[in-house]
C-alpha cells in the first residue's frame, strides 16, 4: 500500500517552524524517511544511499522557498533528482539506415518479453508500418506457439522455425525474411535467461552479431527487487543494451528497480507495459514514475485509468466537478461504482495524493467489495436531496438512513467523514492548491 513520503516528511518537519536555511540535522532527519521510502520501493540500497547523499548536498544550506515547508523543499529536490536520473520521456526507437530495423528483446525468465514483443508489433503497425515478429525462444515449452498465436490475433506475421533450429539461425533468417517481405521493423523475441548463465549469454552475443539490432532492449519486471541492478548490469556489460522496457506497472509495485537500473546503466526507458492486452504499452513519463516510487501518488495515472473504465462523458463531468468543487454524495456513489471497475480501492486511493493515509487506515475488508456494498447501501438509503446536500443530515436523518441500509449510525458517520475528506481534497485541487503542496508543484 502506498505510504506517502510527503506525509511522513510533513510529520518530521511539522515540529520545525523555523524558516530560512535548512540545517544539517533537519535535512538528515528528513532524508532518513526518503531512504526508507526508496528501499520500500525496491530501489537498490547502494543506489538509495548515493541518491540520498546527493540530495543531502543540495538540500543542506539551500534556501527554503517562501511558499513551501522544509519537508516540501526536500521532496521537491528528491523529485527533481529522481526525474533527472530516470531520463526524458520515452525516447524514440532508433531506426536502421537501411530497413528493416531490428529490435531485439532480452531479459530474465518471465519478465514479459513475448507479450512486449506483440505490444511493440501492434504499436508499430498502428504507426502504419509493416512488422515481422521472430520466434527466437526455442527453449520454453510452447513459447513458439505463444508468439504464433499472438501474431494471429494481431494479424502480424511471425517467422518461426519451430524448436529444432537454433536461436541464432531463426533470428538471422527472420531478418532476411523481413527484408524479403519489405517489413520496416523486425522484432526478435528471445528466451528468458539468467544473466549468470554463460552459454545462454553467449547465445545472445551470437544473435546480436548475426542480426545487428538497432535496439537491444532489456525487458524488466516492475516487481523486481534489489537484484535488478545485478542482472541488468550483467546484460548490459555482456551484450550492450540500448534501452529498457518496464513491464507489469499496472499492479501496485512501486517500480524502484527502474531508478536503480537507469542510475547504474544510464539506459533510457523506452516504454512501459501496463496490462496483459496488446494495447497496454505506454510512453514513459519520468515525473510520474518518480512520484510513484516515492509513494506520492499519481493523479495523472488515476485520471487516465478512470477514463479507461468510465466513458469519456462521465470522466469529463467528474473533472468538471472536481474543478468546480461541487462533488456531492451522488458523485461519491458514482465514484464507488467506478472504483469497482478500476481496481481495488487501496490502489485507487493510493494514487491520490493525501489519500494513502486514508487507505492505510481502512482494514483490508473495508477495501474489498463488501465494504463498498455497505457504503452503497447507505447512500441509496438517502433521499436525493440529502445526497446533494449532505449538510442537512442531522441525527434523526442519520438514524433513519442506518435503519434503511441495515447499518449503524456509526457507519453512516464514518461514510460522511470519508466523504468530507474526499470533498476537501477535491476542493484543494480545484482551488489550484494541490493537497499538501504536492503534485503540480513539480510541473
Amino acid at each position: 500500500m502506498f505510504e506517502a513520503l510527503s506525509e511522513k516528511l510533513t510529520a518530521v518537519f511539522s515540529r520545525l517552524t523555523a524558516r530560512g536555511r535548512l540545517t544539517e540535522s533537519e535535512v538528515d532527519e528528513g532524508l532518513r524517511e526518503v531512504r526508507l521510502a526508496l528501499l520500500e520501493a525496491d530501489v537498490n540500497f547502494k543506489v538509495a544511499r548515493d541518491f540520498v547523499q546527493r540530495v543531502r548536498e543540495r538540500a543542506v544550506g539551500s534556501q527554503v522557498m517562501e511558499s513551501i515547508s522544509p519537508g516540501q523543499q526536500i521532496v521537491k529536490i528528491v523529485h527533481e533528482e529522481m526525474t533527472a536520473i530516470l531520463g526524458g520521456e520515452s525516447p524514440k526507437l532508433a531506426n536502421a539506415a537501411r530497413p528493416p530495423t531490428v529490435l531485439m528483446l532480452v531479459g530474465l525468465q518471465g519478465s514479459g518479453k513475448t507479450t512486449t514483443a506483440a505490444k511493440l508489433a501492434l504499436h508499430l503497425r498502428r504507426g502504419g508500418q509493416r512488422v515481422l515478429l521472430v520466434a527466437g525462444d526455442l527453449r520454453r515449452p510452447a513459447a513458439v506457439e505463444q508468439i504464433e498465436t499472438l501474431g494471429r490475433q494481431l494479424d502480424v506475421p511471425v517467422y518461426s522455425e519451430g524448436i529444432d533450429s537454433s536461436a541464432v539461425q531463426v533470428c538471422r533468417q527472420g531478418v532476411q525474411k523481413a527484408r524479403d517481405i519489405g517489413a520496416a521493423w523486425v522484432i526478435l523475441d528471445t528466451g528468458g535467461r539468467l544473466h549468470i548463465d554463460e552459454d545462454m549469454m553467449g547465445e545472445l552475443e551470437e544473435v546480436k552479431k548475426a542480426t545487428s539490432p538497432s535496439e537491444l532492449l532489456l525487458v524488466v519486471d516492475a516487481m523486481t527487487g534489489q537484484d535488478a541492478v545485478v542482472s541488468a548490469q550483467s546484460f548490459h556489460e555482456r551484450i550492450g543494451l540500448t534501452g529498457l522496457i518496464m513491464t507489469k506497472l499496472d499492479g501496485d509495485a512501486r517500480g524502484g528497480a527502474a531508478l536503480s537500473i537507469t542510475q547504474v546503466t544510464g539506459l533510457p526507458i523506452k516504454f512501459i507495459g501496463t496490462g496483459e492486452r496488446a494495447e497496454a504499452l505506454e510512453t514513459f513519463h519520468p515525473d510520474r514514475l518518480a512520484s510513484r516510487i516515492l509513494g506520492m501518488g499519481d493523479i495523472l495515472t488515476l485520471v487516465e485509468r478512470a477514463q479507461e473504465s468510465m466513458d469519456q462523458q462521465r470522466a469529463k463531468e467528474l473533472e468538471r466537478k472536481i474543478r468546480k468543487a461541487t462533488f456531492d454524495l451522488e458523485d461519491f456513489l458514482e465514484q464507488l461504482h467506478q472504483v469497482r471497475r478500476m481496481g481495488p480501492m487501496s490502489q485507487v486511493l493510493g494514487m491520490i495524493p493525501g489519500f494513502s493515509s486514508i487507505a492505510r487506515r481502512l482494514s483490508p475488508e473495508e477495501l474489498e467489495g463488501e465494504h463498498l456494498k455497505k457504503l452503497e447501501a447507505i447512500v441509496y438509503s438517502m433521499t436525493p436531496k440529502e445526497r446533494r446536500n449532505p449538510d442537512i443530515l442531522n441525527g434523526s436523518r442519520r438514524r433513519r438512513i442506518a435503519r434503511g441500509s441495515g447499518t449503524t449510525p456509526q457507519d453512516v458517520n464514518q461514510l460522511l467523514s470519508q466523504f468530507r475528506q474526499m470533498q476537501k481534497l477535491m476542493k484543494q485541487f480545484s482551488s489550484g492548491k494541490p493537497p499538501r503542496g504536492l503534485m503540480g508543484m513539480f510541473r
Binding site: 528501499l39 549468470i196 519486471d221 527487487g225
Partner: protein, 313 residues
C-alpha cells in the same frame, strides 16, 4: 545442497563477480573485532540487499541486538550466527512437524491449486511438482486452467508429454473452474493421488481475476469439501517488496497454504519470503532452482539462510 550443484558448476564463471562481492561483505562483517554500530548497519544492509525489506530487517536486528546484549556476545561472527539462528527459527516456526503437500493425503486426490503473478513460474513449478510426486510413486493429473495466455495450454501439455502425466484441457477461453472440476473427476476415475491446477498469471490487484480464483476453489470444493487441499503461491525469487502485497492479497482471496519460491538459481536471494513468513505465517514449502523438472527441492530453512549469507545462490 538443493539441486544446485550441477548447475552451479556450469554457472561458475558468471558467479565469480557476485561471489567476490558477497565474500567481501561477509568477510568484512565477520572479521570485525568488536561489535559496533557499523556492524549492525552492515547486517541490516545485507538483509535489505537480499529483499528482506526494511520493516522485517529492523525487527530481526532489534531482536538479535537485545539477545546479543543479554548473552554478552562480543565478537561479530557469533552475532552473525545468532542472526542466522533467529532467521532459521522464524522460517521454521510455521513448520510444526506437518509439511502440507510434501506427501499427498491417502484417500481421494490431493488437490493443489497454484496462484501467482504473470511469469512467476507457475507452469514450470507445476511440472516440477508433478515430477516430484511421480518419483514418490503417486499418479498425477494436471488441469490446464490457464485458458487466457496464448500458448499456456500447449505449454502444460508439452510438460505432460515429457513427464507422461495426463493433462485435462478444454481450449483457449474455456472456463478455468470447469477444467479444474473435470480434472478432479478424471483423477478420481483413474485413481490418481494428486491433481495440480495451473492458473493464468494475474496481478493481485485485479479484482475480477481474484473472483475467478475464488470460483475455481469453490467449484473444486463441490466435489471434495476439503479441496483445494493446498493453495500454492508461486513467487519469483527476484521479487522485491511487492511480494508481500502479493502474498497478502492472494491469501485474503483464496487462503494460500504455502509458497513455492521459484528461480532461486539466479543471484537474487528471495529474502521477501522472510517478510511473508513473519507477517502471514505462510510456510515456504518448495524452491525452484532451474528450468528442468528435477530442478526443485523442499524448502529447508537452514540451507536457505546459509545461502542468503553465502556468496553463491
Amino acid at each position: 545442497m538443493f539441486n544446485l550443484l550441477g548447475r552451479r558448476d556450469k554457472l561458475k564463471a558468471g558467479l565469480k563477480r557476485s561471489r567476490e562481492s558477497w565474500f567481501a561483505r561477509i568477510a568484512q562483517i565477520v572479521q570485525r573485532p568488536r561489535l559496533d554500530e557499523a556492524l549492525w548497519e552492515e547486517m541490516e544492509e545485507l538483509l535489505i540487499s537480499a529483499d528482506v525489506g526494511v520493516a522485517t530487517t529492523a525487527r530481526l536486528i532489534e531482536k538479535v541486538r537485545k539477545e546479543a546484549a543479554a548473552q554478552g556476545l562480543r565478537d561479530a561472527s557469533s552475532v552473525v550466527e545468532l542472526l542466522k539462528e533467529e532467521m532459521v527459527s522464524l522460517l521454521s516456526v510455521v513448520d510444526a512437524g506437518v509439511r502440507p503437500g510434501l506427501s499427498p493425503t491417502p484417500g481421494g486426490p490431493f488437490v493443489i491449486l497454484t496462484i501467482g503473478v504473470n511469469g512467476a513460474g507457475k507452469t514450470t513449478s507445476i511440472a516440477k511438482l508433478a515430477h516430484y510426486y511421480q518419483e514418490q510413486g503417486s499418479r498425477v493429473v494436471l488441469a490446464a486452467s490457464d485458458t487466457f495466455r496464448a500458448g499456456a495450454i500447449e505449454q502444460l501439455q508439452v510438460w505432460g508429454q515429457r513427464l507422461g502425466v495426463e493433462v485435462i484441457a478444454h481450449g483457449p477461453g474455456g472456463d478455468p473452474a470447469a477444467i479444474a472440476y473435470d480434472a478432479l473427476e478424471a483423477a478420481r476415475a483413474r485413481g490418481a493421488e494428486v491433481v495440480i491446477v495451473d492458473t493464468a498469471g494475474r496481478l493481485h490487484t485485479k479484482l475480477n481475476l481474484m473472483e475467478e480464483m475464488k470460483k475455481i476453489a469453490r467449484v473444486l470444493s463441490r466435489l471434495d469439501p476439503q479441496a483445494p487441499h493446498q493453495v500454492l503461491l508461486v513467487l519469483d525469487a527476484t521479487t522485491g517488496q511487492n511480494g508481500l502485497a502479493q502474498a497478502r492479497s492472494f491469501s485474503q482471496a483464496v487462503g494460500c497454504t504455502g509458497v513455492f519460491l521459484a528461480k532461486l538459481d539466479g543471484t537474487a536471494k528471495g529474502g521477501i519470503v522472510v517478510a511473508i513468513v513473519q507477517e502471514l505465517g505462510l510456510p515456504v514449502l518448495f524452491i525452484g532452482t532451474g528450468e528442468k523438472a528435477e530442478d526443485m527441492a523442499p524448502f529447508e530453512p537452514q540451507e536457505f539462510v546459509d545461502d542468503l549469507f553465502s556468496p553463491v545462490s
